[in-house]
């Protein structure tokens, strides 16, 4: 008959293993979700970059979490477009 400590250790081990499995699953789903969301942004941004005269690969910065979108927008907003820009409009 197993003693109490063996049962406690077994329960702890099972709990930790379950937590690690759950954590890995959550992380996996998070990564998949992030890539899917990034893809929805990358496709139109690729076209915008190309039309502006930049490399379409610039849009892959959307894959960088949090700041990637900001960086792409900053490049498009604050640099001269190689394919030309509309003249400034009077507000």
């Amino acid at each position: 008959m197993p003693d109490v400590w063996s049962i406690v250790v077994w329960m702890l081990g099972t709990g930790v293993a379950w937590l690690m499995t759950f954590g890995a699953l959550v992380a996996f789903l998070f990564v998949i979700g992030h890539v899917l969301v990034a893809l929805v942004l990358i496709i139109p941004t690729w076209r915008i970059c190309t039309r502006a005269g930049f490399s379409g690969a610039l849009s892959l910065l959307h894959l960088v979490p949090v700041v990637g979108t900001l960086v792409v927008m900053a490049i498009l907003a604050f640099s001269d477009w190689p394919a030309g820009e509309a003249p400034p409009q009077k507000v």
Binding site: P44, T45, R51, T69, L70, M73, F78, A86
Partner: protein, 218 residues
């Protein structure tokens, strides 16, 4: 100890909110600039970003992004309508690349330089040097063997048949991509078929597929 933890948590939330607020303001400003560069009213971009604060959440900016990417930009029409600009291109790639193109408008200031142009570079089989002497109003750049006087052969597998069109108006030289899969580049910038003819008189290099050609006066 407990209150310290609560304070830390609130501080984290506050920091996150502050970052989100700054990011939102930045994004709205940048969206304004991007949309304005395309020739649309800048406030459209601002509103599209600020709509993410509403109940519909982030779906509106995403839809606006897709619409913006695939809609026609007034920038293209504005640029072509400017004095000295190229003629308005067809909205879709020219379905008949062998048809005679529309003539380029006359230049604003005609310079007395009547020399032709020369495109030179290296291809898979050696070097290539193409003379554009202006005897024809337009030339087809093709990867196949030239079968007409106005065809210029760039014998490389990455060059389509036909690949692009050169247009001559006075002392100016224009280039139009004909939907080639290898792509056409002017000084590194991609030229798309929907861009129409582009003045390359001041360009230094053009690239057809993987072939880079230096542009010079003959």
């Amino acid at each position: 100890m407990f209150s310290f933890g609560i304070a830390s948590l609130l501080g984290l939330f506050g920091l996150t909110s502050a970052f989100a607020l700054v990011a939102l303001v930045l994004m709205a400003w940048m969206a304004w600039r991007i949309v304005a560069k395309a020739g649309l009213p800048g406030w459209l971009g601002l509103i599209a970003v600020l709509l993410s604060l509403t109940g519909v959440g982030a779906i509106v900016p995403v839809i606006a992004l897709w619409v913006f990417a695939y809609m026609g930009w007034p920038r293209d029409d504005m640029r072509l309508a400017l004095p000295g600009g190229m003629p308005t291109p067809s909205p879709s790639p020219n379905p008949n690349p062998t048809a005679p193109p529309a003539a380029l408008p006359p230049p604003m200031t005609a310079l007395p330089d009547r020399r032709g142009w020369r495109l030179s570079g290296t291809v898979a089989g050696g070097s290539v040097s193409l003379a554009v002497d202006g005897s024809a109003p337009a030339y087809l750049l093709t990867g196949a063997a030239a079968s007409a006087p106005n065809e210029l052969c760039v014998p490389d597998p990455s060059v389509a048949s036909p690949h692009a069109r050169l247009l001559i108006a006075g002392t100016r030289l224009g280039l139009e991509d004909l939907g080639s899969p290898g792509g056409t580049f002017i000084d590194g910038a991609r030229l798309l078929p929907e861009h129409g003819p582009r003045d390359i008189s001041a360009a230094r290099k053009i690239r057809l597929g993987s072939v880079e050609l230096a542009l010079s006066k003959a």
